[in-house]
Symmetry: none
Subunit: 407 residues, 2 copies
């Protein structure tokens, strides 16, 4: 029987309407990859007694407890004291940590809050590579308790650097992988694959988002790894080119690898997405090797002045039209000196739609030295969704083009 | 002091990756409308001891506990037994309810599961207008416990028909507002304001993110609205120009209103943020009235070719330097035909840093017809954070410039 985990998120603000505990969502996925299931999850207000009670109850039931939030410098950061209460150990100030924090804050001319150097006696620090609040680790026999800050980027970096390495040896015989899919709906994927995972020890979860679908596959049991590989291989075979990657792959990262392998470069000219494609590809570290830059041509005159779109065609066809998208793609390619140009123009809404050109209409084009190819898309959803889904589709069209050219 | 609530969702399936407890999100909003704050929320697996422990802890702390899920007819529906354990009352089969269920199931030719007629001694039924599983109500003195099925449509109908009417008389007067802040850290804001909300009936939560800080203020009690206004006004006074908005305001939206009021326009030339500023401003519907477009000058040659940065200065000062940022700002302004130009160049990491120009170094500049001003920034965090924090700072510098010019 493998270890089971409980997650406790601390923060009154997360109990307000409209707030989600995204840290626990992320941790659930990361623990699942290690073969560790979550048996309970809670969000509690910034109150020492409530936090301590939740931690105590979790420690009684489960061998692994992760607490997020409440480690900052302010009055309402109360996790440190609550952990001390729950563990029955006094809170102690670590002189070495205090000195390090003093150096950090005085260099920046900021006031120091000494409480960040406090931890329950017998616990250890978890280093924070991206912020000031250190985490706290407690390990005693078969029980492990880790407290991490609530800021997602800090929490994630510290989980990967300071918690995950301590968990690998307790992970159960369980294997998990994720296929990243674009071009099919949730129902289509399920209909194609349902017979594959309808077997003991196999689980599948399909998650749908603006960046495509994620198919989370999991196998439990003695031959988990082999069973997972069989399942994954067959799912890939059935889904074909709609699978763009696995696990941590992103569409922009996959496109970047394809371009880098060929020694080719990309540029963009964006109207409705207005920089989102450029921003998505430059999320990939090292993208300067294959991304040249782009034009954000939001105003119509800029489509002509910056990207060289023919003013007469702009006037006769309208800004949201196939020829404008094509000229944007070609303008991006030539003016930015790239091998490929992506051009996008569309109506993201909520205003601006007409009967002939409704909200959600997007024209997309891809240019290279051989010519231009275009697509007319109809995207569902509100403004932000239309824009994000257009980014996904643009990158996926480029991906398929690069794969077809390679084949 | 108004009643505070706790929510417990029962169901192992909700602890899987990618699943959200939407029942609790809905209940949080409905309770908030009644002036009832949620102080803790949890999701627990289908296990009698775990459910019972969660219910017991919640009953000790709070006057109102809502449990959803685990009331169905199958083996893994275990809420009834857990409630009996938590309340210390035996589970009793209600002959009237059993007879009603028997009639219902026999009419439909379905097998009856008698356990749906069980409830803890002393509790009452909550009718289910849209399904078979009845809910359970327990009221004793100042303590109220309600258990509802997990199927959202049933849960919602039963909350509205059977729970809400029993809560209206305990609902307290409550008012809430949020101040949006940029330019100060969490600790600084707390030090400035702590004495203000250190009073009975007032609550403050500071939420930190890459787009600035949110200060959530709440007042409970008879004169909640007036108390909240006093608190909010004084907090605004002390924070001064660092408050950029309230409630649903975004920094880009505020900048857009200031530009639109003056009939002026903006353009961008971005290197390290590579389109993120343009994407952020165009999230605002109607931004085409004040945003012209931008240049994403990721490759160095593009800084010269598209934005007109002097190649000699680029070579001598390096791409990440104050003069390059200034020329980018001026290039954005003139080449895109805008009143204001924002220029950004920096090292987002993880690679590319040197001793003299470390990761996180960003040069930002703002140009208008009168000239150019620049800032040298040092941003903490990983690649995505450095980029998002730079977007926030760029928009905030522009906001302050527009406010100063107006004053």
């Amino acid at each position: 029987m493998s270890v089971r985990a409980e997650l406790i998120a601390v923060g009154t603000e997360m109990l307000e309407i409209g707030r989600r505990d995204t840290n626990s969502e992320w941790l659930t996925e990361r623990l699942s990859r290690l073969g560790i299931a979550v048996r309970a999850r809670s969000v509690v207000e910034d109150d020492v007694a409530t936090i301590a009670q939740a931690v105590r109850a979790a420690l009684q039931r489960s061998g692994l407890v992760l607490v997020t939030g409440g480690l900052g410098p302010t009055e309402d950061d109360r996790t440190r004291g609550a952990l001390a209460d729950a563990l029955g150990r006094p809170l102690e100030r670590d002189p070495e940590k205090l000195a390090a924090l003093e150096r950090f804050f005085s260099r920046r001319g900021l006031p120091l809050r000494k409480k960040q150097a406090d931890r329950p006696r017998g616990s250890a620090w978890i280093p924070n590579p991206v912020g000031t609040a250190p985490g706290i680790a407690w390990e005693e026999g078969e029980v492990r308790l880790f407290a991490l800050p609530g800021v997602p980027a800090e929490m994630r970096a510290m989980f990967e650097g300071g918690v995950e390495p301590r968990l690998s040896h307790i992970a159960g015989p369980r294997a998990a992988s994720t296929l990243k899919i674009v071009g099919q709906g949730e129902g289509q994927v399920d209909a194609l694959l349902a017979d594959l995972y309808d077997a003991p020890g196999l689980t599948a979860t399909i998650l749908s988002g603006d960046a495509g679908l994620e198919l989370h596959l999991r196998a439990d049991g003695a031959d988990a790894r082999a069973a997972l590989e069989r399942l994954t291989d067959e799912a890939r075979r059935r889904l074909g080119g709609d699978v763009f990657g696995r696990d941590d792959d992103t569409l922009a990262g996959v496109v970047g690898r394809l371009l880098e392998d060929r020694g080719q470069t990309l540029a963009t000219a964006e109207s409705c997405t207005a920089g989102l494609i450029a921003a998505a590809v430059t999320e990939v570290p090292g993208s300067s090797a294959w991304f040249r830059g782009g034009l954000v041509v939001y105003g119509n005159e800029l489509k002509t002045e910056l990207a060289g779109v023919d003013a007469a065609i702009l006037a006769s066809e309208g800004a949201v039209s196939a020829p404008v998208a094509e000229q944007l793609a070609e303008g991006a390619r030539t003016r930015c000196g790239a091998d490929f140009g992506l051009g996008v123009t569309g109506i993201a809404g909520p205003g601006g739609g007409t009967a002939g050109k409704p909200v959600g209409l997007v024209h997309l084009a891809l240019a290279d030295a051989a010519g231009v190819v275009g697509w007319r898309l109809s995207k569902m959803g509100e403004r932000a969704q239309v824009r994000r889904r257009t980014v996904t589709e643009a990158l996926d069209r480029l991906r398929r083009h690069l794969l077809a050219a390679r084949a």
